[in-house]
């Protein structure tokens, strides 16, 4: 008896880097395609892959591309550790290992017919971009669509050109704030949660998707609650250490949940009890 490769969820598939784009000083986007030849990489908005760098290691990275597009697999990555630093040094023609897609998705279907509020911070805009693409492709299915984004400084605003394009549309409300203004920034200054107070949406019928640092999500939920958005209509994308993405390694446990397979996207009322507990 021996193990069959196809059944092993820990086995990565080699992908080649087609293109690489610098987004910010520490953030970049990779477009990947299977080395075996082009194939549409099916995923749902909010899902992630495990990206492997030869001899270095493997990390979970959300997919930042368009779920309805047949093109390459797109990941936007901030270099914050050994593997993401190694990914930053890679160039087109190089190869990485890919396992996935894994995890739960933003419930874009059940949000149909409602106002959609996206609250994002920092590189948290990357896992939300597939939602934005999907909503724009199916714009008539949604009510008001609000994108609220916060970055540390104007130089840290991710997908800046796209945000400007989206802001210029009449069927989207886009508001951006920075923690600290520099240079010629004439936009809003302050935490992203402040944007929730003044955004135009119907709090009693809106669905909110929140992705960013945990502390930002904490205050976002508070601000959404204060506007009248119920916990059952708030979704968060959680982050924990992950080694396997399939529930074997135990690292990503968050109370009774595995962030890798029960999350990363959780309906807030499912994690409300543990979200406020220290060091879970």
């Amino acid at each position: 008896m021996s193990l069959t490769a196809a059944a092993d969820p820990m086995l990565p598939e080699p992908f080649g880097i087609l293109r690489k784009r610098r987004e910010l000083s520490d953030t970049f986007t990779l477009e990947l395609e299977p080395l075996g030849g082009h194939r549409k990489f099916a995923f749902r908005p909010g899902q992630f892959n495990m990206l492997y760098v030869f001899g270095v290691g493997e990390i979970p990275i959300s997919i930042s591309g368009d779920p309805d597009d047949d093109g390459p697999l797109v990941h936007t990555i901030r270099a914050v550790g050994t593997v993401s630093d190694a990914l930053r040094t890679m160039e087109p023609g190089g190869a990485v290992g890919v396992r996935g897609p894994f995890g739960s998705a933003w419930p874009v279907e059940s949000a149909e017919g409602r106002d959609v509020v996206l609250v994002t911070g920092g590189v948290g805009l990357a896992p939300m971009r597939p939602v934005i693409y999907h909503v724009l492709t199916n714009r008539q299915r949604y009510g008001k669509v609000v994108i609220l984004y916060g970055a540390r400084t104007p130089e840290d605003v991710l997908f800046r050109k796209q945000l400007e394009q989206w802001r210029s549309r009449f069927d989207l409300f886009v508001d951006v704030s920075v923690d600290r203004a520099t240079g010629r920034w004439r936009g809003r200054v302050g935490v992203v949660t402040k944007l929730i107070e003044r955004a135009g949406f119907d709090p009693h019928d809106a669905v909110a998707f929140v992705c960013g640092p945990e502390v930002m999500m904490r205050f976002s939920v508070q601000a959404l609650n204060e506007r009248g958005v119920a916990d059952e209509r708030i979704y968060l994308s959680m982050e924990r250490n992950m080694k396997c993405a399939v529930g074997f390694c135990g690292h990503c446990q968050f109370g009774g949940q595995f962030v890798c397979k029960d999350g990363p996207v959780f309906r807030f009322d499912a994690i409300r009890d543990i979200f406020s507990v220290w060091e879970v």
């Binding site: 021996s2 092993d8 914050v80 924990r240 690292h251 109370g255």
Partner: protein
Amino acid sequence: MSERAVPTNIRMIDRDGLDALIRDLVGQGRRVIGPALRDGALVTGPVASVDDLPAGVIDHQEAGGYHLDTHGNGALFHNVVGPHTWKRYLYPPVRTLWSARRAAGGLEVMADDAPVPRYAFLGVRGCDLAALRVLDRVLRDDAFADPYYSASRDALFVVAVNCTRPGGTCFCASMGCGPRVGEGFDLALTELPCEDRHVFLVEAGSEAGTALLAGLPSEPADRAALAAAEARLAEAAESMGREMIPDVAQVLRDGLNSPHWATVAERCLGCANCTLVCPTCFCSTVEDVTDLSGAEARRERRWDSCFTLDFSYIHGGHIRRGGDARYRQWITHKLAHWHDQFGTSGCTGCGRCITWCPVGIDITEEAKAIKNREGRA
């Protein structure tokens, strides 16, 4: 008992019969693993005949303490579990998952296609058989299956042993896992070392077990032996010195903010012994091992522990910085959140974490302490 008919699936064998059993399993091409004496502890190791089994060894276990003694009657199983668990064979402490090499224009990933061993485990106690059922839920029967665990588990032959002498830190009776073994065995032994004759009752629990038992030199189990076994098992259940509080899952869910975690943390060394000796702890990490030329890499999976600081690291810091948060993670996962994740407790009452804790932290006592402290708060 004596009024009922003698069950037909229970036979009686002697020491020679047990020897024949072991040799038959070896003859099937199985790696037979059973109790072994090493470094003053009962561990597990290869067994080729009944003479390889430590005879007349009894263990004394207490919180933070373990030593062996000898017993004149030559019994083989008048002891309980040691620091080894069966998971080390089905979910090895270090295993290469796959290897990779740089190739022209990319990367080549090679699956591990080494044959999976066909094991027979001899001497699996009720707690440890329950632990295998728990690991089945985690590693084989959930959304994803670990192929190595699944294949070696499916090929496994289990010779279980009913415990007639509980150890000093056992609490399986309160977890519903022992001292009589539950389901999932091929054969189950109950040792009866009487003055005149040293015999084992053998119960078949599967077709493979029935077939093997049919080929052994055995005799029908007599009523006296069956009654003696029942009496010993009842006495073992009664004489267990520890028990888990029945409402532990709710106590821990309600106690996440208890001040008691800081009290445990004052004693806990964060050494991870409890997780390494636990028969169900499955947490692991992965690591790349590269050759000197840098052309080849192996992806290794190693047992990991939620007691290490690095376990919860994400960019920006460690989630569980304090020993209090780490002990809380371990015990609440084991006894409360495991139910949410896998529909079963992660604890089977084997007592290893109590025995092998260098400072003698007792999971049953800590659960009680959380309950009592919560009650007063």
